[in-house]
Point group: C2
Chain length 581, copies 2
């Protein structure tokens, strides 16, 4: 231990952050309705818990029906009063609490407040004969970052405990204006800059398909919660893959819009003031209807009049009708089989192949996508984030004295043995000067121009008279890996953040299957990380994990991307028989 770090190592401070974390966790336990605490939880050895909520006995058959319904059905039943918001909110709240006991996915739990709001909405519908807005009565879960008046947003930092929001984030206000019922917030990793979910306050979130696997991150709480249908629709955030990785690992639909499409103002964040690569808020759901309802509803509230960074772009129905894509009649999709950085493991490649066959069968053109300078783009991103990240994270942890999490390995962050990290131990290099940062940002801008030209040039490769309509890409080079093992740069998602492209995650209906997804012979490795990924593949370990694909559109093209996603989804459902292990 370096003597210079005495500030970080005082016993008083160590105890203090542990006590603060424990006290916060105790308050969380108290916020769980006692009557929903289960005594028949599955043992640790039962790794797949997806079926448990329906089997556990806590939910009535009507509550099972409600929570198994997709967002379009829920909204229709709620708008007509066929189902009351109190009933729907109760059902999802119960199932969320079941989920939490299985996979540890929640942070703030405020069901009493939600039920009161639901009752007001039921009353409104009765009195006025019409819903209050397009999301009338629908429970929506929120990543911990989204501030709600009177609640904390700890975002995985002990130092944020006790900071109660004085007002709602703009998005929370907008969702409430649309009629949503907010009821839980969900777990994240410390710093938000991991693609797994673990912190010193709430611990680790598990993957319900296999609890020995990661739920992904940083919106891992959302991913695990929605996979167990403890929420029909949730909000995550994504600066490198934080919506899409958990969506992919948990078998969900999700949209990562271009920055500014969904208002971010009022959310708590890390790396604040980093104006170059912006994080996006976006929806995760068990159906595309949830994704569409979310975006259309948010846009209907003119978020640009409430958040100075929100883009002035109303829902564009022409774009949704694919006016810029030949009205959707024959599209050209390009499959990116790999990014020339890491070759995907066999389950992922199988899903890409299945998607290709489904799209061909549906009458679309499918060509290969040639990656363009991806390693250069990763490098630019990495340097931009690193420019001040070490100081940012260090400042946030120094406030409480908690150690910086340096690994997501379950044994790597043993609090009993762990000393707070010295600044020089932190995983990111010390910062750049502002001028050096500008040079990196300039490189990124140049690369964005080149990538756009690369995309436009595909017009010579298609038979549609247009450049490629959308790219089909892996979400990650593997399905959900074991805890602590999702430790590579998320190259398949962060590339699109670097380019500000809109992206959509779709489950293929396929699951990793050791009898099909056998190891391939070694290939000529692109990089050391590629070799490590190859070596690391163990078909048995990820058995049953959902396999997803990513659909990539142009900047701010969310409406067209959702419509193209519907086309891919129908094609997959027509062609691909959902797997059962």
């Amino acid at each position: 231990m370096d003597s210079q770090n005495v500030e970080f190592t005082s016993t008083a401070k160590l105890q203090s952050w542990k006590e603060a974390a424990a006290e916060k966790k105790r308050r969380q336990v108290l916020s769980i309705p006692k009557e929903w605490v289960l005594s028949n939880l599955p043992s640790k050895e039962e790794v797949n818990v997806v079926g448990f909520p329906e089997a556990c006995g806590l939910l009535t058959s009507r509550e099972i029906e409600i929570t198994n319904s997709e967002v379009d059905i829920l909204l229709q039943k709620l708008a007509t009063g066929a189902w009351s918001s109190v009933d729907v909110t109760t059902a999802f709240s119960k199932r969320a609490i079941i989920a939490h006991q299985l996979v540890n996915c929640l942070t703030e739990i405020f069901i009493g407040r939600a039920l009161q709001r639901a009752a007001e909405l039921d009353e409104y519908l009765k009195t006025n004969g019409k819903p209050i807005g397009p999301l009338h009565g629908l429970p929506i879960s929120l990543k911990d970052q989204v501030s709600i008046k009177g609640l904390e947003s700890t975002i995985g930092y002990v130092s944020c405990i006790g900071r109660y929001a004085s007002k709602n984030a703009v998005l929370a206000d907008i969702l409430e204006s649309c009629g949503a019922v907010l009821y839980v917030k969900t777990n994240v990793p410390q710093t938000l800059m991991w693609v797994e979910t673990y912190n010193h306050i709430f611990g680790r979130t598990l993957n319900p398909h296999n609890r020995t696997l990661t739920a992904g991150g940083s919106s891992g709480g959302e991913g695990a919660l929605i996979a167990l249908r403890g929420s029909p629709l949730g909000v995550g955030s994504d600066i490198a893959g934080s919506i899409r990785v958990p969506a992919a690992f948990n078998g969900l639909y999700a949209l990562c819009p271009s920055p500014g499409r969904v208002p971010y103002a009022g959310c708590v964040n890390t790396l604040e003031g980093q104006d170059s690569i912006l994080s996006s808020l976006g929806p995760l759901s068990s159906s595309l209807s949830g994704i569409k309802a979310f975006l259309k509803s948010v846009a209907s509230q003119k978020p640009w009049l409430k958040d100075p960074l929100a883009i002035n772009k109303p829902w564009n129905e022409d774009e949704y009708q694919l006016a810029d894509h030949g009205n959707g009649k024959r599209l050209c999709f390009a499959i990116m089989w790999h990014d020339e950085f890491i070759l995907p493991q066999p389950p992922v490649t199988r899903a890409l192949e299945a998607t290709k066959q489904a799209l061909l069968a549906a009458g679309h053109q499918v060509i290969d996508w040639k990656p363009f300078k991806h390693p250069d783009i990763f490098q630019a991103l990495w340097v931009i984030w690193s420019a001040g990240a070490s100081e940012d994270f260090g400042t946030a942890t120094a406030l409480s004295g908690e150690p910086l999490v340096t690994t997501m390995e379950p044994d790597g962050d043993n609090l009993d043995s762990l000393s707070p990290s010295a600044p020089e131990d932190r995983p990111l290099p010390r910062g750049l000067s502002a001028y050096e940062l500008w040079q990196e940002q300039k490189k990124r801008r140049q690369l964005r121009e080149e990538y756009l030209a690369h995309w436009n040039a595909t017009i010579t490769l298609t038979d549609t008279g247009r450049p490629v309509d959308a790219i089909v890409s892996p979400c990650a080079p593997f399905v959900a890996p074991p805890h602590g093992k999702n430790n590579l740069p998320p190259s398949y998602t962060m590339i699109w953040n670097a380019l500000n492209y809109a992206t959509l995650v779709l489950p293929t209906g396929l699951l990793a299957n050791p009898s099909i997804d056998v190891r391939k012979p070694p290939h000529a490795f692109f990089t050391d990380l590629d070799k490590a990924t190859y070596d690391f593949y163990d078909p048995a370990r990820c058995a049953g994990a959902p396999i997803s694909v990513q659909l990539v559109g142009r900047t701010s093209e969310e409406e067209a991307l959702i419509a193209m996603g519907e086309i891919v989804d129908v094609a997959l459902k027509t062609k691909v028989v959902p797997a059962k292990l």
Copy 2:
């Protein structure tokens, strides 16, 4: 001279940059058609040269008619073939060359190439019976930054001499797709970060209304050129006032859109990679019809498919019809009489008062605008720019060895006596770290949120049921000052860049008049700069300078802003009798 700066002071390098600048200037002289070189130029004592182009004898009466026509008339005559593009291009080219001889406004001159293009367009119209695009045949001038294949963009740096563009900037391509004829580029200050126009290659641009006054900057070449009707429509850029200040000082209409509305990709710039406060490209013109035609035409070419930073926002006719502003029937304008930083001098206040009376007479509501934390916002901007500016400017000047311009005073930059500035002499502080920069950017983001809330809160002050529709603000606290004296931070323009608001400059038809605009007794000064501005006022010195106002709309609200600008313009023209001195 510090011995450390030997690199900057070698005689060889000094001579070399002077020679390079002189050689470039010689090439410019050669690019001027000889038959348009005038021998009857007015003497230096004739300060107002606005009438000279029509009187000098070089222009035919038809050329005078053409060059005195506004953009809507020109486009109509060109589209029908009533006027050929060759004739229109010839007329504006001749007048541009006259203007250049009067006020030194041009950099690149490529009239032969333009006339060839004009002839092709005439041929196209003859063959196809319809114009090639919405700007068919119209000459458009460009600020020096806008790259044109085969030409230089020196942007006031000797080090940029000899760098010939390998391709057009996206905007140049788009304008050509619309049918525009590009024929000249216009002068800028070294670094682009001055609100006057002077550099070591092309020298100083003068104000045609009074050549002892500055034309403003950094788009000063455009301002002076269009004021002399050497161009019907030009493109400037603006990060702190660089479109608006020259427009205001030269009595022109101009639009500074929110960043990204007009594509910037492919332009040459300073402070590149600074991703926080972005410069905007926008039009200057002698009529609002020019402003509207420009924006509508550019948007029609879907710039977001060509520039990754361009916003996906087609021309929105509903917004132009003021759908979000009560269909324009009764608007509420708020006048910002001062920014609590510098009180405007009497001519500017008189123009605000005239605008108020005109708007009231036209049936609109007019209230006062209360500035909100302007000094905090200026400070955030200043620190963000300064974070790497010194290194940026130093790098660009060190390449050639030319001195950094440290004043716009005519006697302050005497090249015979001047030594290159040492890095420590540069006017901006040494940079911040990236993390420190992020903290400033975070402050700015917070201030943007607060300012938006401040604007929204005006709903309680209006009788329209809406918040204030637009703000009427000074463009600067004074009309065009003498050369070297526009040396304050341009607080009245940069505030809106900080907030990403769209802004429009309108001439009021009034001119500074010493017999009306008499000195006021001293007031309680807001700041030292306020006192300096008060002390500096000399009614006689700025006699005859145009007085303009600035109309401020919300982010990306360009269509509505143009429509509201038309309302203000009509009100002013109805109520205010254009002044003659």
